[in-house]
Symmetry: C2
Subunit: 331 residues, 2 copies
């Protein structure tokens, strides 16, 4: 096994977030699932955008956010994801490359346009996401840079992208390539709806040992295991994956590895402005520590620091100097 | 003269700001004029964007920012400006309409794309702007909604837009329409470079009484009058315009009207994050008070409150509840 060229390579949705504050009443009125992620079609995208207040555009996408955090911490990263050949595609590509991340997937010509996520942020900081997948769902297996995948310590996959057919096939091929090269595969379950549709796939991948590091939140843990009780769910899943990381919002996070359980509280924070990307950045912090061979407790703390930074401002890409924030805490 | 339908109608650049923090060294390295506004062509836009860090997109444009502030304060506003038929054009149109501002200018088909301003924000909060005017410079006189102009208490014009030929002709026609309907014309000088190129036009318009309310900062006052001494410049210009408003950054602002001079200090602020839009929002606050018939001192204070809000965060569109901020101070 040659020296890895990248710490982490990720396959994920290539999305630009369109974000605006909104009232609790508007979430209700528009019939949105508060705090959730809903896939929307063109028509719904237009009607929701019309109902949205003045917004800002910030690159997003779950795995891409995680890479942005990893790169900010100092990791060497690469991204694979599909944008269209349009202005928002240029914005996404610029932002990810400007973060120091290698991104070589060619833009897709013609319709549909680049994916966008309409994010309504209520006064409590909770985000309600409506995703128009656009070009992102057409990532073809041919777009994979298998040499790069074989040259990365960790292949990180976003559960959201397991839903559309072409990217799912691409991700299966990527897993095979990573495994063949002796690399680790990390997977984030992303959302309960993905588990509802593809839970059987995920359980099979876990049983066959294809997933080395699994990220979930407490809702996804329950959806995957069928146990509403957190500890029961954890006890069932943990023996099946080498590293299991479960985030619990304001209750902090838990990791189980080698039969040992580690826990970290949530970082104190003045004001939760926008929770978009909290899980993504937790994963960034944890993975960074993991690829650097840090103690599990330090990996968790790093995840908590990154998550706290991201929810203190609008958008799911880091603004503060994550490296300095972490260095101040972890020797 | 019929009851006005709008408080303020503005003609301005229809621009999306692309903003990123940057180091002082990068401003130097890229050969940018720190704190200034420079017009750039396609090639320079590409090279500067390549050098820029991960960014966010927020609608901008000087006069459009002023309207966003006015509308947030409760004024009825309309905007005239040219976007292209592209994604950033949709973003601009959405944001201005979502702010409650009437915007009917049809998007322009084909190249060039919608205007964008690449804004580099240094650690002191100073913004250095690089504007690619794109479609914005092709606003034709035919795009004017003369009925709306005649139905607005104030026609507000952005000096930046005096530079390109077509919008200049459109603005001259708009002034004639507003004057013919017995409305007021407000003008912001925008930047010293505009005065260098078009100072003769501006001085002529002032002499002939076409401008009722003139906004400038201290640098523009000096450029227009040729007096480096603030008080000398003010003394020369003030008798020629019914209302003269001059902002002085951290020194606050001055208004002279009816031979009387009024002054307001800058509002105290915890941290200057990004000065983009400070002048635009000062104008918004002042104009709001003016159209409501407030005392001059209160108009100035409202301007200072709005300017302080805008420099406390990224972007030139208000985020806090301006109406509440002003109501807390002005009875």
């Amino acid at each position: 096994m040659s020296q890895p060229e990248f710490d982490v390579i990720a396959i994920g949705n290539a999305i630009v977030d369109v974000m605006a504050p909104c009232s609790d009443a508007l979430v209700e009125e528009l019939g949105m699932v508060r705090g959730g992620m809903t896939l929307i079609d063109t028509e719904r995208a237009h009607s929701l955008y019309d109902a949205m207040g003045p917004a800002r555009e910030i690159s997003g996408g779950s795995a891409a956010n995680t890479l942005a955090g990893l790169a900010a911490l100092g990791a060497k990263c690469a991204f694979i994801g599909q944008v269209a050949d349009d202005q928002l595609g240029e914005v996404f590509a610029h932002d990810i490359r400007a973060g120091g991340i290698s991104f070589g997937t060619a833009p897709r010509a013609g319709d549909p346009p680049t994916a966008r996520c309409l994010i309504f942020v209520t006064p409590d900081g909770q985000r309600t996401m409506n995703t128009f997948l656009g070009a992102s769902q057409y990532l073809p297996a041919a777009a994979l840079d298998e040499a790069a995948i074989r040259a990365a310590s960790v292949l990180y996959l976003e559960g959201y992208l397991w839903d559309p057919e072409e990217p799912r096939a691409a991700m299966r091929r990527a897993i095979a390539a990573a495994k063949d090269a002796g690399r680790k595969v990390a997977f984030t379950l992303s959302d309960a709806f993905v588990i509802e549709r593809h839970g059987a796939d995920f359980r099979a991948m876990i049983e066959t040992g294809e997933i080395d590091i699994l990220f979930a939140n407490h809702v996804e843990l329950a959806a995957l295991t069928g146990h509403d009780d957190f500890d029961k769910g954890l006890a069932e899943l943990a023996p099946k994956v080498p590293v299991l990381v479960v985030t619990r919002s304001e209750k902090g996070a838990v990791a189980v590895t080698g039969g040992e359980r580690f826990e970290v509280p949530a970082e104190p924070i003045d004001q939760v402005v926008d929770t978009t990307g909290a899980g993504d950045l937790f994963a960034a912090g944890f993975l960074f520590g993991h690829v650097r061979g840090w103690k599990v407790a330090d990996c968790l703390t790093t995840g908590a620091i990154c998550a706290a930074e991201i929810i203190s401002h609008y958008g799911a890409r880091p603004e503060a100097d994550l490296k300095a924030l972490v260095a101040a805490r972890i020797g």
